[in-house]
Subunit: 196 residues, 2 copies
């Protein structure tokens, strides 16, 4: 939260934690990092979370790839994180905005994801209308699961789920209201998912 300019920067960031519910959690996290091409994003890990920053398509691509690689171990894994763009306190540093646009992670295997998200368009008097519009978009795309307090449920194949999240994150911010936050919690290979 450095006190600096920005607001119109194209930097997108994702601060997240990947949680394998397994004694092998270290190996699973390290394995996912090893198998994911993170060369197009800036990345830093501390004792609580990891942050990736860069062009939006690469940020979503890396987030999905890490999740998919962790899930293919078959273990129950969870991803919790916050996508951010346009924060007035953001800095121009730590970005990889000159990377080309070609996505580096192209594993297209299927993986069921149950998730929940919330949109927080900052300093925008019409923010509730924006939230409802993106929930309607989820319904139209067939990934809407359920309404609930403080969030909306999104589920389906991981590629459809991430495609929806990237679309919602694009449409919920504007040049007039550039600061957008989106929280996401995902559950994969949960015993609660039964035959999914």
């Amino acid at each position: 939260m450095e006190q600096q300019h920005c607001g119109t920067s194209p930097i997108v960031g994702f601060r997240f934690s990947l949680h394998p519910m397994s004694d092998r959690f270290i190996d699973i996290i390290k394995g996912a990092l090893h198998e994911t091409d993170t060369s197009r994003v800036w990345m830093h890990t501390d004792d609580v979370s990891t942050v990736i920053r860069g062009k939006q398509p690469h940020v979503f691509n890396v987030a999905k790839a890490l999740t998919l690689h962790a899930a293919k171990t078959g273990e129950h894994v969870a991803l919790s994180g916050t996508f951010s763009a346009g924060c007035p306190g953001d800095t121009e540093g730590d970005v990889y905005l000159k990377a080309d646009d070609e996505l580096q992670n192209t594993d297209d295997r299927n993986q069921y994801v149950s998730s929940q998200f919330a949109l927080y368009p900052m300093n925008n008097p019409d923010y509730m209308a924006i939230i409802y519009r993106e929930v309607d978009r989820a319904k139209a795309r067939g990934v809407f699961n359920d309404s609930m307090h403080y969030a909306s449920g999104i589920h389906g194949d991981i590629h459809d789920v991430f495609a929806f999240y990237e679309k919602a994150f694009t449409h919920a911010r504007s040049s007039r209201f550039p600061h957008l936050v989106m929280t996401v919690s995902m559950s994969l290979n949960s015993p609660s998912h039964g035959g999914q």
Copy 2:
């Protein structure tokens, strides 16, 4: 995100996931729920997260107790969640506002927590000033750890950490701008914490 009134409701909610990085994750979660007195909050669990709602002191008390009980197993556990109040889309349902104020969970054992938080005062033009004020409060209380992109690090004994979070959540909302969101990620018994 039901489309209803509110905004002045005293309901506080916390939607969270508790993630034990252990093959015994189901037993640890069930054990924490069993040992925590949740009688003063409304609670609902689905396949991704759990939500508790009620008077603010009980919501924070239950959140801390669940975390503490899970951590005392010695396993590496993580808590990710979002505190919310004053959402214009909130409903009056599913609340326990008539509960008396006596806190039900009083386990005062010490437990080191490393965590990160972000405040999102909604629809408030002065939101950045509010965020910086609460970060300054963390510094004054001795729980501030580090600055970082999109969040601030808070650490120390679990009781000090939760006391700070409840204080920040109280001070960052007002009758004029009642809708406040606070995300929190906590790590306990992490191998990264070394001798803490």
